[in-house]
């Protein structure tokens, strides 16, 4: 009985989740092709290469659920990634450097939050501006040169492998996933995020401290993005101002493809993980199949537009069907 219910629940999620179906479809396609796709190395690599974007996506999910949007994560990632390396290159211990980088995230998040919440500006455009500004800051502090890390231990944080198979990066990603999932589902903070995203005014009249809460989501998102930046720097063992070019759009897009509503109040980190997996599997699979780059680009565009269109279409059908 219980099993049956879980099964039904899964089925419901599957039909509702275009992204999930897309991932399954791609996995099936890869079954019928003679490639090294289904090797443990590749599957872990696939997870590994999606991990940083996923970490960012989990932070963004919180903001989106609360009815905001954050396009500055690319900038945050880059700046914090550079900060951590600059500090370490000046002989500051790793952990302190990482904390400082996260602090950078917190500061940016606070500014974003302050401007959107207390000054009632449009987060979409404010964070876009913040992203540009941070890119400039990153270029200025590095003079637009990539800076290699001189501390040999730093690289191991992301590049090491547990039992020689599971990349540390994947483990970090899973930890972030679990923490944010728990926060969103089982804490007062998380539920209130859904409330303010669902209806800001109602939440306000229900005595939720909407401003502080919404502000907190921006801070959380930026701190998570900063963590993503630290992991990126560790993975690449260097920091540069050019890393975060299209990150913000791709991540937000992945989160929405996964099914977290831009309008707020709907979604969660499992959906975001799947949304990002769509891109990860697609990229990896097409590389495995040796599909030419330009075609890959077009396929990616079609998948993005396609899934979102299907999703909208489903919602339209549901609207009409009631």
């Amino acid at each position: 009985m219980n099993n049956f219910n879980t099964f039904k629940k899964l089925l419901k999620i599957a039909t509702k989740q275009k992204a999930f179906l897309a991932v399954i479809a791609m996995l099936v396609i890869m079954l019928f092709n003679q490639t090294n796709f289904y090797t443990s190395y590749n599957l872990f690599d696939l997870m590994n290469s999606s991990s940083i974007l996923m970490i960012l996506a989990f932070g963004v999910t919180v903001v989106l659920v609360a009815g905001g949007v954050d396009l500055s994560i690319g900038g945050v990632m880059v700046v914090s990634g550079i900060v951590v390396i600059k500090l370490m290159n000046n002989n500051i211990p790793i952990w302190i450097a990482i904390l400082c980088a996260l602090l950078v995230g917190a500061v940016v998040g606070t500014i974003n939050g302050y401007l959107t919440v207390y000054q009632k500006t449009e987060p979409f455009i404010i964070t876009l501006g913040m992203g540009m500004l941070l890119t400039g800051v990153a270029q200025m502090i590095t003079d637009a040169h990539p800076i290699p890390c001189t501390n040999p231990d730093f690289s191991k944080i992301a590049n090491g492998k547990l039992f020689n198979t599971i990349p540390h990066l994947v483990i970090v990603m899973i930890i972030v996933f679990l923490v944010i999932h728990w926060v969103l589902r089982y804490t007062s903070f998380g539920r209130n995020c859904y409330a303010i995203g669902g209806d800001y005014e109602v939440a306000k009249y229900s005595g939720i401290n909407v401003r502080r809460l919404k502000m907190a989501t921006f801070v959380l998102c930026s701190v998570v993005a900063a963590l993503g930046g630290v992991m990126l720097s560790s993975m690449l063992n260097s920091g540069s101002s050019t890393y975060g070019d299209t990150t913000a759009l791709v991540v937000n897009c992945g989160v929405v493809v996964g099914g977290t509503s831009f309008a707020g109040g709907i979604g969660g980190v499992p959906q975001s993980a799947i949304g990002l997996l769509v891109f990860g599997v697609l990229q990896n699979g097409m590389n495995m199949l040796g599909i030419a780059s330009y075609i890959q680009i077009i396929c990616q565009g079609i998948v993005i537009a396609g899934i979102i269109c299907l999703d909208c279409y489903g919602r339209k059908r549901r609207r009409e069907a009631v």
Binding site: Q34, T35, N36, F37, Y38, T39, S40, Y41, N42, D45, N48, S49, I52, Q139, T142, A144, H145, P146, I147, P148, C149, S155, N159, N164, T165, L232, M235, L236, N237, S238, S240, S241, T242, Y243, D245, T246, Q283, N284, N287, M288, G290, A292, S293, Y294, Q296
Partner: protein, 310 residues
């Protein structure tokens, strides 16, 4: 299922034939920094064209101008079980961890066009390419030749933060500083955009007027914009130097709009890379650093070069 490439020796007989190799050709991967960049798109075509000559089958992976995507591409190549990887790096430091991993599983690693930092060269087997520092130096030399008595020039950089932009700028300024040629204005672009180069040039003309004797533009297509701006301002005798030696640069030199292009020969570079890889795989020793010389092309010697295909 199949084994992971990391445990490369545990292949059990009777399994599916490894996909990485066919009967005749060994699989190699060329990781392009950015396929939207025409010089690299051209290089990838060269790889596809010449791979068979060295008994290779080439997989092209696009890093889309992104350092992170590039390490992913390297790992993807590892997963595909290739014999050799050629990388045109977006960021020479960022690529090292991934290349180290590739070398650990026994893949031959060749750097294409840009080399790793001097103290990290053990992460690759060999390097073939031009040195972008040298491109900058050659451009500087062209100015020194043209203006022995000194001149005022401006520099328009490529995408700021990009490896080629950094090296061309550094190489150029190493030679130029201390000479009587003054770089009175420098600005890099947000992307390798002709329109941006043109707008910057227009604004530099307003600012510096007729003082400008020469322009060093980091890439020939940018020089196209520079030339447009100069023509609009009716400045005819400005000495324009570009890098690439692509079709645009060639045409501009031929028509006399551009004075010099520093030409890099991708065909030679590709062939040399493939040859090196073949040798390493076959167990021969190779030279680690292989510079393909840059040509300084001007109206005087342009007839001696074959017109580029890109």
């Amino acid at each position: 299922g199949k084994t992971t490439p990391t445990e490369s020796t545990t292949d059990t007989p009777g399994e599916d034939t490894p996909v990485g190799t066919t009967d005749e050709f060994e699989k190699i991967a060329f990781i392009v920094a950015d396929m939207a960049n025409e010089s690299q798109a051209f290089a990838s075509k060269q790889f596809q064209q010449y791979a068979k000559d060295y008994n290779f089958e080439v997989v092209i992976l696009d890093a889309k101008g992104d350092a992170q995507a590039e390490t992913q591409a390297v790992k993807n190549a590892i997963a595909q079980g290739v014999k050799a990887i050629f990388v045109n790096p977006n960021d020479i430091n960022a690529i090292i961890p991934a290349l180290t991993e590739a070398k650990q599983v026994g893949i031959v690693v060749g750097m294409f066009s840009s080399d790793l930092p001097a103290d990290k060269t053990d992460a690759r087997d060999f390097f073939v390419g031009v040195n972008d520092n040298m491109a900058g130096e050659a451009a500087a030399q062209a100015f020194l030749n043209k203006f022995p008595d000194g001149a005022n020039i401006v520099e328009i950089g490529g995408q700021s933060g990009h490896d080629a932009q950094i090296k061309r700028h550094d190489g150029f300024n190493n030679i130029i500083s201390g000479t009587n040629i003054n770089v009175i204005d420098f600005k890099a672009t947000n992307t390798w955009s002709t329109a941006e180069a043109m707008a910057i040039m227009e604004d530099m003309i307003v600012k510096n007027g007729d003082e400008i004797d020469g322009v060093f533009c980091h890439w020939d297509n940018g020089a196209t914009g520079v030339i447009q701006a100069l023509m609009a301002a009716d400045m005819k005798d400005v000495f324009v130097v570009g890098v690439d030696g692509c079709r645009a640069g060639f045409n501009q030199v031929t028509s006399g709009d551009q004075s010099v292009t520093i030409m890099q020969n991708f065909t030679t570079m590709t062939q040399k890379s493939l040859e090196m890889a073949r040798k390493v795989i076959d167990g021969e020793a190779v030279e680690q650093q292989n510079f393909v010389p840059l040509d300084i092309v001007d109206i005087g010697n342009i007839d001696t070069f074959t017109a580029p295909e890109w």
